[in-house]
Structures are given as structure tokens and as C-alpha cells.
């Protein structure tokens, strides 16, 4: 290594320029989706967009901040509840999806003060307790009628075709917006700080990264995004049964998507959501065995391939589609061939520190 010379510090590669352009084109095509796709396809895509949001948010929290939470269903359920509550108070039903998520995000800020002082597994289950508490408190609202639940009846004001298209556009806009926010965030100086925390928290702190405020920002963003996903889910499912929304199964889905796709890689979250969506489409009817399979896959990935599919791609190729780090290009004096080292290179070595 000492004999090699750094010839370039690069972020964009030809492949990543193409990937970002392709992503923009795909989103533009998806934007006219309701005009070309069948009703069933529109519904399916809406579901996929929500999965992408969930995977992205959990991956931001865990993959980039090292905060494993088993309680993200708290925000999913609260987002759905907030939308129903606001719509019942007379706020327009679509604005209330976003407004509700904003309120939940704002509430998560003071919550982060308490929860982020917990470490590791304690934080994980502490969040689960928070989610149980949120579930019980939501049940106290007479509008929800306990576990019987309620529905977003205000949506009946729209004809079913319009409703489908509007919900689809909301989900697409939410997904594209959150992808852009997280992408921008991770590429900013703060994003470099966040990735430094992921790599080694003590080392990051020692060079002046404000660890706690960075973690709080990501915690709040993840709460907001997950709440938005919950609100969008209630807009597609129409019914709100607290038990179904506050179920830890949602976190299991998020873990599955992030782990299989590639924890701590930006592309991995999207890939994981698409894989999960495909598996659910093919095997979802199998019920219990489908869930056993999800649990087993998550276990196997955690034990054997903790970097997931995209992590493998990053380790074995120099392919970066949506780069959030920098790469150093070296030339070695003997062969003259160049090789690139990703900005994420040190991560596996520092795993024990996390």
C-alpha cells in the first residue's frame, strides 16, 4: 500500500451517473403510472413504495447509526392513527397523512432524549416497550374503539379510481422525497459524520463528531418516515386495527429487507424492499411457513452474510450505483493498474467496536 500513490479521490463513477439518471427516469415513468397500469398493478406498486420507505428508514437507523430498534412499529401505528385522528377532526384526508407524520416525527424528538441513552440490546427492547405503550394509549381513544379498530372513512369522499391514483402518487412522492433526503443527507458533511459513527462511535467522537445530535437527527427522520409509511398504509388498507399496525412483525419485515438487501448500503434498502415484495407476492399465501422462512432467512443472513447482497457486491466489485462515500483510486508502481477502495472499507474490521 505504501508503494502505491493516490491518483484520484472520486465520488461519482460512470456507472453511478447512469444509475442516478436511470432512477430519475424510472420515477418519472412511475409518476404517470395510474394512466398506464392496471388497478391491481397500481395497488401493488403503492405497497412496494411503502416497503421501500420502511426499508430505507430502518436501514438509516441501523445501518448508518448502529441503532437496532425492535419498536419502529410504534411510529408506523402512530402515523396511521394520527392520520385518522386528524381526518376525523376535519383536516383534509390527504394532507392529514403528511401532517400526522410530521407530528409523530416532532414527538419523537423529545422521546429520543430518553431512548438514545440506552445502548445496544437495551435500546432495541426499550423501543419495543415504547411501541406497546403507544399501542395501549391509542386504544384509549374512543375513536379507535379498542382492538376493533376503525377506518379512514373520510376517503369515501373520493371515487375509488381517484383514490387509488391519489394514494399512489402520495406514496411515490413520499418514497422519492425520502430517498432524496437520505441520499443528500448521507453525502453531506453530516452524512460523513453519521457514517463515521457507524464505523466506530468512539473514534468518531474523538475527532469531534457530535454523536448524540447526529443520532437524534436520524432517529427523528426514521420516526417521521416510518409514520408516513403507516399513514400511507392506512390510506391503502382503509381499516385501522391497532394490533395489526403495532405488531412487531413490521419490524421483522424491516429487518428482513435491510439485512438481505445490505445493511448500511444505500442501494441495499431498495434492493431488499424489492426482494421482500417479490417473496411476499410468491409465498405470502403460505402463511405461517412464509413467516418461518422470513425469520430463518434473517437469522442466516445475520450469522453468515451480515453485509447482505449489496454488501457482497460492494466487497467484490467496484460497482457503486448511488455512492454516499468517497473512493480513493490508487496506482501501484509495478503493474500500473489502478484499483479503487470504497469509503466503507474499514467497516468490517470495526464491527466489534459497535
Amino acid at each position: 500500500m505504501s508503494a502505491s500513490r493516490i491518483t484520484a479521490v472520486e465520488r461519482w463513477t460512470p456507472a453511478s451517473r447512469i444509475a442516478v439518471a436511470a432512477a430519475a427516469i424510472i420515477i418519472a415513468v412511475l409518476a404517470v403510472g395510474p394512466a398506464i397500469f392496471s388497478a391491481n398493478a397500481v395497488d401493488k406498486l403503492t405497497t412496494l413504495f411503502i416497503y421501500v420507505i420502511l426499508a430505507l428508514m430502518w436501514n438509516a437507523l441501523v445501518g448508518f447509526c448502529g441503532l437496532v430498534s425492535i419498536g419502529q412499529q410504534a411510529f408506523f401505528g402512530l402515523g396511521a392513527y394520527a392520520a385518522i385522528r386528524l381526518a376525523n377532526w376535519g383536516v383534509g384526508v390527504y394532507p392529514s397523512l403528511f401532517l400526522g407524520a410530521l407530528i409523530v416525527g416532532a414527538l419523537s424528538w423529545p422521546l429520543s432524549l430518553l431512548m438514545l441513552r440506552l445502548k445496544g440490546g437495551e435500546f432495541a427492547i426499550g423501543m419495543w416497550v415504547m411501541s406497546e405503550l403507544a399501542h395501549l394509549l391509542v386504544n384509549l381513544d374512543t375513536l379507535v374503539r379498542g382492538e376493533t379498530g376503525t377506518s379512514l372513512i373520510e376517503l369515501n369522499a373520493y371515487a375509488s379510481g381517484n383514490r387509488r391514483a391519489l394514494t399512489y402518487w402520495c406514496a411515490l412522492a413520499a418514497m422519492a422525497g425520502l430517498l432524496a433526503i437520505v441520499f443528500r443527507l448521507l453525502r453531506s458533511p453530516l452524512g460523513a459524520a453519521i457514517q463515521a459513527i457507524r464505523d466506530n462511535e468512539q473514534a468518531a467522537e474523538s475527532i469531534g463528531v457530535r454523536v448524540m445530535s447526529a443520532k437524534r437527527l436520524v432517529f427523528t427522520l426514521a420516526a417521521f418516515g416510518t409514520a408516513l409509511a403507516g399513514a400511507l398504509w392506512v390510506a391503502t388498507a382503509l381499516t385501522f386495527q391497532p394490533k395489526a399496525y403495532f405488531s412487531p412483525l413490521w419490524t421483522a419485515y424491516m429487518i428482513f429487507m435491510a439485512l438481505v438487501g445490505g445493511l448500511g448500503t444505500f442501494e441495499g434498502a431498495i434492493l431488499g424492499a424489492v426482494i421482500f415484495f417479490a417473496i411476499e407476492t410468491w409465498f405470502g399465501d403460505m402463511g405461517v411457513w412464509y413467516l418461518v422462512g422470513l425469520g430463518a432467512t434473517a437469522l442466516i443472513f445475520a450469522l453468515l452474510f451480515p453485509r447482505g447482497i449489496w454488501g457482497w457486491v460492494e466487497d467484490h466489485t467496484s460497482l457503486r450505483l448511488l455512492p454516499v462515500g468517497y473512493r480513493l483510486r490508487f496506482s501501484s508502481p509495478d503493474g500500473g493498474h489502478t484499483r479503487a477502495i470504497g469509503g466503507e472499507e474499514d467497516r468490517r474490521d470495526s464491527g466489534a467496536e459497535r
Binding site: L114, G121, E122, A124, L303
Partner: protein, 300 residues
């Protein structure tokens, strides 16, 4: 008077929470691992006892003689196959892998036994409902009292084992610093596997009492994990006698909450947990302080 009665019931309920929390607390204290499959494993043990009683007519207390060693083997395997490998990947991986394991266990139980709730109460005769009455309004259930007694014996037994035996000292040394323990001849891998086996033996006992005192279903594991976690955090994570205090605080909070509102039982429990957590993070460890006050020592 009903107030006093509720407090007494809450204290006794705390015995069960201490029981279910002891394995979680022990594992966290010794191995630094929070096992998210803890509750599901307790439910698994309860189902095993149910099958023994239902199909083979082996009553639960006798059945425990078979299930406890079996769960110890499960603990050994869990440590060797899952936890050991996970721990190498950092502190996050055990959380993910044990959560995955809990999903597998829960759904396999559902596949095998369906959604029906089960109970071990029918197989223990009048112990499940018999009680001693003190005055007109206060009754102490014999099963609840037995649960408390078993919790105290179990926690005391583990404490004595850790303090007095060779292997107990090896476990504590490994918990303190496994590399240094290896230097002085402790086989850390073996010690951790033994510790996991002990933890899972307590899980088998907790599963037995879970089944005897109430009903359970395949998805009951999550709630048991949460109770165990709350009790162990309230008492000061990783401390055994603190776990008993934590269980009692949780049980009393729930019993008093139930007086206020039907849903108050769980809400009060969670709020007590959060209040203690907040106090602990702001002013130091409650369990540690109580122990220090009681024993005048810093480490138990």
C-alpha cells in the same frame, strides 16, 4: 383494603416476573447478550410441558425434570450455533439473529399447535386455584406463593453458584474480561455455553409457571420478553437480586394500574419501567443503590 390486597397480589406477581427475568438478566450480566428469543423459548418450554401432560399424562412438576435438561441442551446449542457466531459480528448482530430466531419459534409453535390458548392449570389439581385467606378480603394464592418461593430459591441458588463454585467463578471472570480469563486457563467458549445452558434451565422453570398460572398461545413470547426485560432493567440490568426487586416493582405497578382502568394494568407497568429508566439515566442505578443500601457493598 382492596388497595392493600392489590399490593400483595402485585408483590406475588413480581415473583413470576423475577422468575422469567432471571435468565435474561443472567445472560445479559454474564455474556452481555440480550436474547430476544427469551420469551419465545419460555413459551416453547410451556408447550413441551403441555404435550407431556396432555399426551403422556406426566404432570408438569415431573415433566420439568425432563424439560429443564432439554432446555439446557437448547441453551448450549443456542450459544454454540447462534450467539457465539453473532457476537463476533458486533453488538448488533445478536439482537437481529435472536429476533429472527423468535419469529421462527413463534410461527413453528403456531404451525404445530394452532391459535388455541393452552394452560397447564388443569394438570396441577387444586394448586392452581387454592389459597390461604387472611381476613375477609385478602387471599394469597398457593401457586403465587410457590412462584415467589421458587424465584427466591432460584435467584439465591444462582448467586451462591456464582460466588462459591469453581465454574461460577470462571463464569464471573469471563463476564469481566474473557481474554484475561483465557490467559489464566479458563475456557471461555465452554464457560459461555454452560452459562447459556443455566440461563435456559431457568427459562424452562419460568415456562412451567407461565403455563400453570395463566394461559399461553404461540405468540405469547413477545409479552414475556417485555416483562422480563422491564423487571431486569428496573432492578438494574445484569444484577440478580435487583431482578427480584424489579419484578416486584413491575407487579405492584401493574396491580395498582388495574384499579384505575382495565387497560391500566399494562400501561402502569410500562410507565413504571420508563419512570425508573429515566430516573436511572438521570440519577444513577436504582437497583445498585438499593443493594448498596441493603448490603453496604458495591458489587453483589
Amino acid at each position: 383494603m382492596i388497595f392493600l390486597s392489590q399490593i400483595i397480589q402485585g408483590v406475588l406477581l413480581g415473583g413470576y416476573y423475577a422468575l422469567i427475568a432471571s435468565g435474561l438478566s443472567f445472560m445479559f450480566g454474564v455474556m452481555g447478550v440480550i436474547n430476544l428469543a427469551h420469551g419465545s423459548l419460555a413459551v416453547l418450554a410451556a408447550y413441551a410441558l403441555f404435550v407431556l401432560a396432555d399426551r403422556f399424562g406426566i404432570e408438569p412438576f415431573l415433566g420439568l425434570c425432563l424439560v429443564a435438561p432439554a432446555m439446557a441442551l437448547v441453551g448450549w446449542a443456542l450459544q454454540r450455533l447462534v450467539l457465539e457466531r453473532s457476537a463476533r459480528g458486533g453488538v448488533l448482530v445478536p439482537v437481529l439473529s435472536t429476533f429472527g430466531l423468535s419469529i421462527i419459534i413463534d410461527n413453528l409453535l403456531f404451525e404445530g399447535f394452532g391459535a388455541d390458548t393452552r394452560s397447564l392449570a388443569p394438570y396441577i389439581g387444586d394448586l392452581s386455584y387454592d389459597s390461604w385467606s387472611l381476613g375477609d378480603t385478602i387471599a394469597i394464592g398457593k401457586l403465587a406463593a410457590l412462584t415467589m418461593a421458587v424465584a427466591i430459591v432460584l435467584l439465591g441458588g444462582i448467586q451462591t453458584f456464582l460466588n462459591r463454585t469453581q465454574i461460577g467463578r470462571a463464569i464471573r471472570a469471563t463476564a469481566e474480561d474473557s481474554d484475561t480469563a483465557e490467559l489464566v486457563g479458563v475456557n471461555a467458549r465452554r464457560v459461555n455455553a454452560i452459562a447459556a445452558a443455566i440461563a435456559l434451565t431457568t427459562v424452562a422453570v419460568a415456562g412451567a409457571f407461565l403455563g400453570m398460572r395463566a394461559t399461553f398461545d404461540p405468540y405469547a413470547g413477545g409479552a414475556q420478553l417485555i416483562f422480563a426485560f422491564e423487571a431486569s432493567v428496573i432492578g438494574g440490568a445484569g444484577s440478580l437480586w435487583g431482578t427480584l426487586i424489579g419484578g416486584i416493582v413491575l407487579g405492584v405497578a401493574q396491580s395498582l394500574g388495574a384499579l384505575v382502568n382495565p387497560q391500566g394494568f399494562f400501561i402502569a407497568g410500562h410507565l413504571a419501567f420508563l419512570a425508573v429508566l429515566f430516573a436511572r439515566l438521570s440519577f444513577g442505578d436504582l437497583g445498585q443503590r438499593v443493594r448498596t443500601a441493603l448490603t453496604g457493598r458495591n458489587r453483589s
